[in-house]
Subunit: 433 residues, 2 copies
């Protein structure tokens, strides 16, 4: 199927009228001396729009949420924004009144440097919980980053690098398509790696229907002209189908944030209604951008050696499908068997059985599939092992990426979860400071 | 505090009128040749009462439950029982109609060998899911085990060994105390190691209040004289305070079973009512037996290097306290930090925040304590880090066993969870066949 959009370079600066930068300001207080490059990982990022941009956001529903989230949630609810400032190396979470003061100051200083309103700046942080920010270094970083802002693709790459924590590669994407004959663009950067099972809502408060369980940060820019209402609606759907469907370790972070800025600088016609073909195309392209980035988070998760997509069909409801798929995706025993490339459907059955979803053993089908293939190799049909040779199943479950297809055969509820294995490397990486 | 009971040897054969045995019958089909001892781990256990015994049981609430559980649940609901037969090496779960037939045959053959009623035999299995039992070997094992039944303490030890899977040591306990001046005894054996977060009920069906998340097997014998109603009541409380409060990996098994047989052979006065001092003493002693065995399961969990007890106080309700404590105890990031001996309270706060329990960041206290000590070293008070030096916290969290004391300061809900760290050894052990 030929898609109506195509990939382009430049991620967040691909859309017209956006600048970015990423600098080093020693947020981890490495105190590296002159001439030393040891540990000089970029740690402060900025993304700014030349013109006022419509803003929308989705934030962690963790009840313990970081100061920057508390400051950014009401600002993302305003109509317009101009910039995002973000640091890695310190989450500014569980930091009390000083943490709130610091988050507000990060925004205020950015606003001053860029000559925009204080409320027009959104703030994000990621890193260790419970430490106050080294504000003298952060202030220096903000001045450096404001000075380094550029339309050049290198700047977007630097921003993507500056938000990395345990990520091993930058995560960037951009697409271009046409609205009314004029080209428009959507670009994004994100980071993830650990503490990854986002459950985000626009207000950061937890709706009853949200899944109950990294820090992941994602910044999306676009030069389409669109209203606040439509942008928030599109982002909500895109996040529901991407970031809120991934899990690395089942730990929802205190800092998860997705922010989109739409500055209308493309010159293309304004997207007018949610039923217009233009909106539908925008939604599809935004879904692609978010899913591409979300999958990159899973692929680069801490210690990940295998990527697994769980397709859960036939539950009584979507909610039950979602709960059952998450139980499978977060089971330590299932994840370790994936690490070993073992098609251990018994552990999958066990996890389904203790999930809050209704499960009837005698109805369950479990199969394995190579991504892109249509053929599911079933290990279990109606609760009974098939005659499929274990070697054939192992060929699939031993691949770097595979799909597990589960049908509860009880109803029409469906859910997809993008996840990974649990390796010794994950444990080793997370065992200490 | 001097306790009214004292420990004795002999576990399940310590109470009068109980025999046990444990034999090798090659359930894993190792096919070891003559003279070879390679892999000859005992794999079939039997416990039998000389006289009809009152029975009570608690079974997994996993919707996918093994054939022996399906057969044993209604038998444990009957008034009397005579024997338990159990195998390791194969869970007889997800084995369809053949599995049910095999479980029933295991009971029937045991009944025939012992000359008791078929309905008077309870059946348990533990091991890999999804394989049919090698019944010719099992039949042979049952005959051997029936012939080997003995009142000798060695036989109880053999039974404890025969139910082991990934356990590294047998788990046995027995206590003696007096009722109306006459000595009575309670003894028990159990196994655990992996797939451990039991949530058991007497009927195997899931009450709304049960935790949603080993195979763990536990057999308890006692020579007290007690009614079915009182025995079931006592077991329910004992399990609620022990096996249902442990988690190794958050995976509730398809086979979890706790069975108690009370044969009245001590000659002591009958326990007549739930308000009698005798019942209260029996309950306390049974609680001790179950908690002792439950803690042995955690201590011998797969790859466990550190034991941690989570004390969660100040939740709005017990249910919320339980949910919050389980989120902390099952968080991959919290468990890996424990592995490293790292007092990472930030990850604990993160897990509390995404738990279904109400949590207010500014009210939370988190402290660390050496078992047996009264002094809690607080890392966090009212959501803010204390001045306690990290080295002092690390001295506690670096010990082989420690307690984490959390107060949400929102109400009177309390819960305790006995758990452990997540190590590279756990991952390595579970990665494949």
């Amino acid at each position: 199927m030929k898609s109506f959009f195509h990939s382009i370079d430049g991620s967040v600066v691909a859309p017209k009228g956006f600048k970015a930068s990423g600098v080093f300001c020693d947020i981890k207080r490495l105190g590296t001396g002159k001439g030393s490059n040891k540990g000089r990982k970029l740690d402060l990022a900025m993304v700014a729009s030349d013109a006022p941009a419509v803003v929308a956001g989705m934030f962690t529903t963790n009840q313990v949420c970081a100061a920057p989230v508390k400051v950014s949630v009401p600002r993302a609810a305003l109509k317009r924004s101009r910039a995002i400032v973000a640091n890695s190396g310190n989450a500014n979470a569980c930091t009390g009144a000083q943490g709130m003061k610091d988050a507000i100051e990060m925004g205020a200083l950015t606003a001053k440097e860029l000559g925009v309103g204080e409320e027009e700046v959104l703030i994000c942080s990621t890193g260790r919980i419970g430490l106050n920010l080294p504000m003298e270094n952060v202030r220096n970083g903000i001045r450096l980053a404001a000075g380094a802002l550029s339309h050049d693709a290198t700047s977007a790459h630097n921003a993507a690098e500056a938000i990395m924590t345990s990520d091993s590669v930058t995560k960037e994407v951009a697409v271009e398509f046409k609205i009314g004959g004029s080209p428009v663009r959507i670009g994004g950067i994100c980071k993830g790696a650990g503490m990854i099972e986002p459950g985000m809502s626009p207000t950061g408060s937890r709706p009853a229907t949200m899944p109950l369980h990294a820090t992941m940060l994602c910044f999306v820019t676009t030069d389409v002209a669109i209203s606040k209402t439509l942008l928030q609606r599109a982002l909500k759907q895109a996040v529901a189908l991407s970031f809120n469907r991934i899990t690395v370790d089942g730990d929802m972070s205190t800092n998860d944030s997705v922010i989109v800025l739409a500055n209308g600088q493309s010159g293309a016609a304004r997207i007018r209604s949610s039923s217009s073909p233009d909106f539908i195309r925008f939604q599809e392209a935004l879904n692609h951008v978010c899913l591409d980035l979300a999958k990159k988070i899973v692929a680069d998760g801490e210690g990940v050696t295998r990527k697994v997509t769980v397709f859960l069909n036939g539950a009584r409801t979507h909610k039950e499908a979602d709960a059952a798929a998450r139980c499978v995706a977060n089971s330590e025993l299932v994840k370790t068997s994936w690490y070993g490339g073992d098609p251990n459907w018994g552990r999958v059955m066990d996890a389904l059985g203790y999930s809050p979803s209704k499960v009837v053993e005698e109805k369950v089908d479990i199969g394995y599939r190579i991504p892109g293939s249509r053929k599911v190799l079933f290990a279990l049909k109606k609760g009974r092992p098939t005659r499929t040779p274990i070697e054939d199943l192992r060929k699939i479950s031993g691949a770097e990426e595979f799909e597990i297809v589960i049908n509860l055969n009880l109803g029409k509820g469906e859910a997809i979860i993008y996840t990974c294995d649990l390796s010794e490397e994950y444990v080793d990486f997370n065992k200490g400071e």
